[in-house]
Subunit: 338 residues, 2 copies
């Protein structure tokens, strides 16, 4: 997060000056278990944070109450501050044009008119957007993708997802689901995915899949994965994180699983870059932090295996971490009210 590392004046006085002088927008990241809000300046800096936990049985009303409370906690300190807009990023299928959360499996929502409801309570224009698109907006405007019109953000975490900017616009798709590249087939007839398809990119490279593949391999040959097993404690506790740790410690089984994962990553990255032809491919998510070599693997695959016009795509690590959706949601709200 830029504000944390900014040099010069102390963050406190700089931020106070911002609150009084700048056009501030609230960005909210509505996840499955918590709401995080930030007061975001036009340069993408978060000048103030607030967060609330959600409860499994909150329902739309309870969640909206938490959203409103979270936003008010930010602006309450200075009721006169020019709160021009609110943006909400949701881990869901979202129709930004109509302001509706079409389907949020984690929240159990269908067709919730979130923008209108929150707007009534906060008395400010509210924009809602899918969280992957919000993160892409943050990278595009203030992060690793600044300065280009064609960008693909690939997120490698428990799941694998993506979002594209093409010709200077973030793409939505026919049902607001464009960019689900975790579910392109990379291994015909391959491993069953959590989705209805088999052989998916995510079914090899997603965090859950790396863990699953390592558990299977360890079950079959515990001796080869001795270090991995001792790091994890036991077979069911193996995660992608412990696999990366064991790989660094030279565990032969973990080394093999990571090498295989790198090969599948290369297959998927070549597919994404040939299909979307980005100038920059941004790689983010916990797996990239856990195993930074994925960046050079991606770059090598693009240079050596993509179609010549696509092979020029640059690979960059994501600039934003957990704050990406907050910053991007605010940026969406800003672009809507401009």
């Amino acid at each position: 997060m830029p504000s944390r590392n900014a040099p010069g004046r102390s963050r406190k006085s700089r931020n106070a000056a911002r609150v009084l002088s700048e056009d501030l927008v609230v960005g909210i990241d509505l996840g499955a278990t918590k709401v995080v809000s930030g007061l975001v300046a036009s340069d993408g800096t978060i000048v103030r944070h607030s967060g609330y936990q959600l409860h499994a049985n909150d329902g739309p009303e309870g969640v909206m109450e938490a959203l409103v409370r979270s936003a008010r906690a930010l602006i309450g300190i200075d009721p006169g501050a020019p709160l021009s807009a609110v943006g909400i990023a949701v881990a869901a299928q979202v129709d930004p044009g109509r302001g509706i959360v079409v389907h949020a499996p984690n929240l159990g929502w269908r067709n919730v008119p979130l923008a209108e409801r929150v707007s009534e309570q906060l008395r400010a224009p509210v924009t809602i957007v899918n969280d992957a698109r919000a993160a892409t907006m943050a990278e595009w405007r203030h992060g690793a993708g600044t300065g280009v019109d064609d960008l693909f953000c690939l997120s490698l975490g428990t799941g694998v997802g993506g979002s594209a900017v093409v010709g200077g616009r973030i793409l939505e798709g026919g049902t607001h689901a464009l960019g689900e590249v975790g579910h392109i087939t990379v291994a015909a007839g391959g491993r069953k995915c959590h989705c209805p398809n088999s052989g998916c990119f995510e079914a090899y490279v997603g965090g859950w899949a790396i863990a699953e593949r390592a558990r299977e391999a360890c079950g079959a040959d515990p001796a080869a994965g001795r270090t991995l097993l001792s790091l994890a404690g036991n077979l069911p506790s193996i995660t992608a994180r412990t696999v990366f740790e064991a790989d660094r410690a030279g565990d032969p089984l973990a080394v093999r699983i990571v090498e295989e994962t790198e090969r599948y990553l290369a297959d998927g990255v070549v597919s994404v870059v040939n299909a979307f032809n980005p100038s920059v491919l941004v790689l983010g998510g916990g797996l990239v932090t856990g195993h930074p070599r994925f960046l050079s693997v991606a770059e090598g695959a693009i240079r050596s295996r993509c179609q010549p016009p696509a092979a020029r795509a640059l690979v960059r690590p994501a600039h934003f971490g957990e704050d990406a959706a907050v910053v991007g949601a605010a940026e969406f709200a800003r672009s809507r009210t401009r």
Copy 2:
């Protein structure tokens, strides 16, 4: 092509009326071996055709001369006709904004300022565009993709290629190469493609790959492919077309190759639809004509294997055949001068 099948008045008198009354645009399809031009009305109907063969050693000058001759042959019959614009579709990497053919491997061109040169000679505004995008424009405006804002056109011929309309715009990509879905990896570690990648969609489903796979299988087991071999004459003469013919005749080897191809087609189509989330997937090219069952295979795969929001995509056969690029090039020129 609509004009060929249009009911009512005879084509001749209808077309003559058009030449006198309508705003006509010339669309040109510049291929590797020939130039085809058409005078295109605003409803996408070609009212007049002309074609010239190209020669291997024509060079840019010779090709441009053929282009200009071909366009003049169309308008010469009525020099007073309001020729408002010319569009040229090229089987190449094309920068439409700068009017430059960046790289045309078949023609051996690099950075040819085609639009400006032809414009000088024809004294009309000239727009150039990649041929796959031109075909997509034709389908979108006047063919199988009318009425939607999110469309993917997948062409299954000797090669496999595509082009996308998202949010009401045809996508170009960072180096004008977006949509190269023939080169997404569907079989990790699989067959070598003609491109630098392996396991590509095209390396299984492209016409050349179907033929290559059938030849290999026939070489290994000539008895199983007896009908296929007799239809083709000999092993090297096996093509995708003869494989489809032998499949219809019940040849066991051809049946197996076609079934395998259908499975890879399903893998690739699921990838494309999950990645691009089109409302309509248009399938065109010689393989769809040769084996129409590909349409229902694609539809079945989308319904049963895509992510739920993407699984609603409709599959439609391409409306245009060989004329697609001519009609689409004219439509591009029309949209530029509007």
